[in-house]
């Protein structure tokens, strides 16, 4: 079997009637090695700063 066809994500959604719908969707990962988007790196840095200032306030 092709390794790519095994890649999947399961999404569990709780319905009004108490049941859970499960969707299985194929995913197609991109494993090209390259840097992350600079915009995302900035968002991660901002998140880390927010988290570190929050933990300092708790102390």
């Amino acid at each position: 079997m092709n390794a790519k066809s095994k890649d999947f994500a399961l999404i569990f959604t709780d319905l009004e009637n108490g049941e859970t719908k499960v969707e299985r969707i194929e995913t197609h990962p991109d494993r090209t090695r390259r840097p992350m988007r600079p915009e995302l790196i900035k968002q991660i840095e901002a998140y880390r700063k927010r988290r570190s200032s929050k933990s300092k306030r708790k102390k």
Binding site: L10, I25, R33
Partner: protein, 130 residues
């Protein structure tokens, strides 16, 4: 996506079990550290569990695995998703297969929704001593 979801928990695990009737999830061997025998190392398949809430509309989630400074991204998994009710939670499990790590150190898993940051978790890849 009209409103970016919030993530409640992001966990890496080796296996998971879905109970047939309740569809409850059991995560098996959750980890934050991968011990490898040699480098580069292609990891055994593992899974990412995360739970999203407070989202509205349709969009694409992107799960990215990269080294700690973001310079070497090793995997990017796109997942199409639709949120109808922001008060409801969606639980997700994504498989990660054939992910190759070339160096030891800290790696990060990030989730974005239509390019907006949602969640971050880190794990370490360590070389086992012979």
């Amino acid at each position: 996506m009209i409103q970016t979801p919030t993530c409640v928990g992001l966990v890496l695990c080796e296996k998971f079990v879905v109970e047939e009737n309740s569809r409850n999830l059991t995560l098996v061997n959750c980890f934050q550290r991968l011990a490898v025998a040699e480098l580069p190392w292609t990891a055994e398949p593992f899974y990412l569990y995360f739970c999203l809430t407070d989202g509205i509309g349709a969009g694409t989630l992107l799960v990215e695995i990269a080294d700690a400074d973001g310079l070497a991204r090793v995997d990017e998994i796109p997942i199409a998703i639709q949120f109808d009710d922001p008060t409801k939670r969606k639980r997700l499990v994504a498989s990660v297969t054939g992910c190759t790590f070339e160096a030891p150190g800290r790696y990060q898993v990030t989730i974005t929704a239509d390019n907006e940051f949602v969640a971050l978790s880190v794990f370490d890849v360590e070389l086992m001593e012979a």
